[in-house]
């Protein structure tokens, strides 16, 4: 086995080979990605030659526009060839197994797979079965992990706040179903953020979430008091159908981020959202478009983060 047995994302030299989750990834590697991304932000050259001749396969078993597009832009800016595959609409519906799909794609000489799947753990499964020279990036799996989103959020925070050692950060909304929240919590913890709060109704917080080292709040104004960073999550409409929430209006009343609630945070607090936003559900338009919002810079930084991850991994044999 060429991978590090204690962390299958790393090779024997401790370098990044796959990016599957931020859990257990050393701070040094997180910082390497953030530092590398910084050198990609604002590069004037439209196309860098690093991944010339490499093929990046965007393999999306679950629909996504933004994440897929930013991966595609990132790969193309590194001169890679990009192939987009929406599996949900092709072979899987014809009954092909995940492994058969991956074997077929490997036979098409892929160098890198960017995988989005509705099942937690699917990218790990793929990473275990591909040839040693293929890299796998998790672009979101089930409720489990969305590492590049977590990294771009960390980049955004570091960009505006400098470092993590004195920050108070609140993550608000549907923590239970959120792979983004899990990635954020792991990354913030690894990078030394001293106080992470999660805010949401009991029905949308995972049982035992405190074990991740976070403080739990059910009331917005308490939870947002004096925070430096507010990270909103998308309320997935499909959650409305179950018994978890009475209605979107009810959620907005208690957990929607309005100017009024945001006033509890520090005056220079920044507001992040992974997109796509439900205006009037988890966030009010005046906040989303307000001067504390850094939601659009997040998207720009997301491209640099994905360029950094791809160029670091492709350079690690």
């Amino acid at each position: 086995m060429w991978l590090n047995p204690s962390n299958p994302q790393l090779d024997k030299k401790g370098q990044l080979h796959h990016l599957l989750t931020l859990e257990g990834l050393p701070a040094e590697i997180l910082r390497q990605v953030l530092d590398t991304a910084k050198s990609f932000v604002g590069v004037k050259v439209k196309k860098l030659p690093l991944l010339r001749g490499r093929s990046v396969f965007n393999v999306f078993f679950e629909p996504s526009t933004r994440t897929r597009t930013t991966f595609e832009i990132a790969a193309k800016r590194l001169s890679a060839d990009v192939i987009n595959l929406n599996i949900s609409t092709s072979s899987q519906s014809k009954g092909e197994s995940l492994l058969d799909t991956v074997d077929n794609l490997s036979a098409m000489h892929a160098d890198m797979f960017v995988v989005r799947h509705s099942e937690s753990g699917a990218p790990h499964f793929i990473a275990r079965h591909v040839a040693p020279d293929i890299h796998v990036i998790n672009a979101g799996d089930g409720r489990h992990s969305h590492p590049t989103q977590g990294l771009l959020d960390m980049y955004t925070i570091r960009h505006y706040k400098g470092d993590f050692s004195r920050l108070r950060v609140a993550i608000v909304g549907d923590i239970l179903h959120s792979r983004v929240a899990r990635s954020q919590i792991h990354a913030l913890t690894t990078l030394g953020c001293p106080e992470i709060r999660v805010i949401g109704p009991k029905t949308l917080l995972p049982a035992g979430v405190e074990q991740l080292g976070v403080h739990v709040y059910h009331e917005m104004r308490h939870g947002l008091k004096d925070v430096d960073v507010v990270m909103m999550l998308r309320l997935q409409n499909e959650r409305m159908q179950g018994a978890l929430l009475p209605s979107a209006q009810e959620f907005y009343k208690f957990y929607g981020l309005t100017d009024d609630k945001l006033a509890a945070a520090k005056p220079d607090a920044i507001v992040l959202h992974p997109g796509p936003m439900n205006r009037g559900v988890e966030i009010d338009s005046s906040v989303a478009d307000g001067k504390q919002s850094v939601i659009l810079p997040q998207v720009t930084f997301g491209i640099a983060i994905r360029m950094a991850v791809m160029s670091i991994m492709a350079g690690n044999k």
Partner: protein
Amino acid sequence: MPGKPLPDAEQLLIALIEQMRPAVGPETGLIGIHTGGVWVAERVHQALKLHTPLATLDVSFYRDDYQARGLHRDLKRSEIPFEVEGRDLVLVDDVLYTGRTIRAALNEIFDYGRPGSVRLATLVDRGGRQLPIAAQFAGATLTVDPGRSVALKRDAAGRLQLEVREEPR
């Protein structure tokens, strides 16, 4: 470290500046290659009172050993604060050896535009070229064993100094 003592980098810098003085004009674009080349370029730029602001280049995204050695950890940013198109440029590096860094730098520059000309200035030319690249301006030519590397250091006062190291293999 045994062997002949290395020349004083500050003396070489003066020699380099005097070679360049008659050959560059105020519109010449000076591009220092990170990290040592930028130190040299800063001093040259100051001494020759060039109008065009100094440019800096980190060639990591263009190196030919990326496939073998991966991306460098300590990346700097390339900043070319002038129009490259049609301009006469001088690339500045600290030590010229295989020529591969210069190859990478040329490729990067051409992604910004088509310069009128590109010349090369180096504080030290230590021979050992693996590509058809030559310096038009050199502070000194040294003979160094292939197993060793010559590196430029800068102390807290800004003084430049050369150092020979055993190459890590």
